[in-house]
Symmetry: C2
Amino acid sequence: MTSSPSVPSAPVGELFRAAFRAHPAGVAIVTASGPEGAVGLTASSVASVAVDPATLAFSVTGGRSASFIASAQTIVVHLVGADQLDLARTFADPAAPRFTHSMDWELLPTGEPLLREAQWALRCEIVHRAPLGGSVLLAAKVLDIRSNPSNSAPLVYHNREFHTLFQSVSAVA
Amino acid sequence: MTSSPSVPSAPVGELFRAAFRAHPAGVAIVTASGPEGAVGLTASSVASVAVDPATLAFSVTGGRSASFIASAQTIVVHLVGADQLDLARTFADPAAPRFTHSMDWELLPTGEPLLREAQWALRCEIVHRAPLGGSVLLAAKVLDIRSNPSNSAPLVYHNREFHTLFQSVSAVA
């Protein structure tokens, strides 16, 4: 198997980045309580793994928030829609102020930061950690779930931009 | 943290399913050579984990194809677009005939089945396996990448249907 003629000399790393830039993903914000307070980051790698027990996976790379989340016992995984675009942007930018007074959040009685406007908030216990090439692949068992009734459009990350969904191609293809 | 008033008595498993039905995902087809020939399945859990070395993760659940893929040494992860909708449907349906004469595929010299029309085909070595609640979370290191120049629209799986992408919400939100 070789590279396509259009990209004959590109190394694997470069093609890999291009492939996943073009691979759409849902958007989540993962929070935890770190030793210096609440931390959080926007993740586009959250996926369901198993239903019984309810288990999800995602990975984190580099940075202070990432290392606190990777070493936390419990976390909150917020699945967000287009109405939470600002929140997704804030937690995607390490330099943006978060957990401010104007942000609608609280510390749960169990200690984790909850972003109240998220459509779904899944409080989880991390049950598996695999360090892989400077990142950590995490699996987490879901302890409880808070849903926020809303009709927000789905939010999709693709080609470094946020998008919402168009019509089903089922009908047209 | 409690369930929302709208779903007061739903157990975690049921809410978990609802949360991830609403969480959009890109679409991939993972193939391997099993003891009885080529196997494959459509996966909506493929995500990038690390760039150096290029590493991805996904999970598989139940079934013959899933168990052959989970135990394979090497696999091909095909990232597919809207032009490959039929292929995605075929490999999502365990009863659909696949690797037929009319399907555009080949066995690579290294032994894995390649679906030639996929936008991206990443040949990988599985480097990590974590059994979790009846599923297996897999991490795989990318060995080489074949890209298929095309302008296919991105394909997104959401609420049990395939969709393509609308305009960026960046501009409107």
